[in-house]
Amino acid sequence: MNALIQRMRELAKLGITHYLGPVPNIASITPLNLLGQRVIPAVDEL
């Protein structure tokens, strides 16, 4: 998760404004919840 947040920071610095990607094991919902709890709030603060 930290690596992904760091990647978002790097992309934002490059001018990337949107990030779209597949989520492994998406049907279990758990990965979506984890991303929502940890990554999205951190990226919102960039």
Binding site: L14, H18, L20, G21, L32
Partner: protein, 255 residues
């Protein structure tokens, strides 16, 4: 031939959506891309699974939900016999099951639908989702599925010509001009489109593909966003500035 450009649109829309979602000024927006429908519950539970995924994505703050516009599963994700849903039917279904998340095909193969019908499909999605549709579009690249189901699949040069004409037709149908359109491949007698999209001046346009000679020009001329593959994500989208980023393509990546 009518020549429509994005004059007055693109600069305003770069990196930010006009219309229903302009209150969101985040630097980076994260979306989820659904590239497989082969899940443990099988086809009988596909509708429920898709609903749970879309609603969980929305609940967790994802900005977009995109689907592939393929007819068969693509090689990278599995064998062609794996489940695949038609994109715009599925997006319409998801529009009814969500309230905020933006919806798009990543990306529509321009050659799969007559452009007038494509413009109507995206317009319908935008109206019924209350302003949440994007047009993601590309030249098309999956010859096997196209030939398998009897769809036209011309050579690359013609596919790009058709892509450009499809963009021109969509933009004309999303404008006040309901006059005729006469291109090399498509001829429309009257480009009437009622109702117009709720997103004004039109749904954001993302053009898929990374070619410098053709795609970049089309992005600059007609679109607001282009995808850039990265090591850790299948797709990122950015504003149509060719200098914005050139990252190492790696479609195998995921979040």
């Amino acid at each position: 031939m009518p020549r429509l450009t994005h004059t007055g649109l693109s600069d305003e829309m770069c990196g930010e959506r006009q219309g229903a979602h302009t209150e969101d000024r985040k630097l980076m927006k994260i979306g989820v891309h659904v590239s497989s429908y082969t899940w443990p519950g099988g086809p009988q539970r596909l509708a429920q699974d898709l609903t749970r995924i879309a609603q969980a994505a929305e609940h967790n703050g994802f900005d977009k939900l995109s689907l592939m516009d393929h007819l068969w599963q693509i090689t990278h994700n599995g064998p062609p016999e794996h489940e695949m849903l038609e994109a715009y039917t599925t997006l319409g279904y998801l529009a009814a099951r969500t309230a905020r998340i933006q919806l798009l095909a990543l990306v529509t193969a321009a050659i799969y639908r007559e452009p007038g019908l494509l413009a109507k499909a995206v317009t319908t999605l935008d109206v019924l989702s209350e302003g949440r549709a994007w047009l993601g579009i590309g030249a098309g690249s999956s010859e096997q599925e196209a030939r398998g189901l009897g769809l036209t699949f011309p050579a690359a040069g013609q596919r790009f010509e058709r892509l450009e004409e499809a963009l021109q037709i969509c933009l004309q149908m999303w404008s006040d001009n309901d006059g005729p359109y006469a291109g090399k491949h498509y001829r429309l007698a009257r480009t009437l489109n009622s109702p117009q999209p709720l997103t004004r001046p039109h749904p954001p346009i993302l053009i898929g593909g990374g070619g410098e000679k053709k795609t970049l020009r089309l992005v600059a001329q007609y679109a607001q966003f282009m995808p850039t593959a990265t090591r850790s994500a299948a797709t990122t989208t950015t504003s149509p500035r060719p200098s914005a980023a050139r990252l190492t393509p790696d479609p195998a990546g995921s979040m």
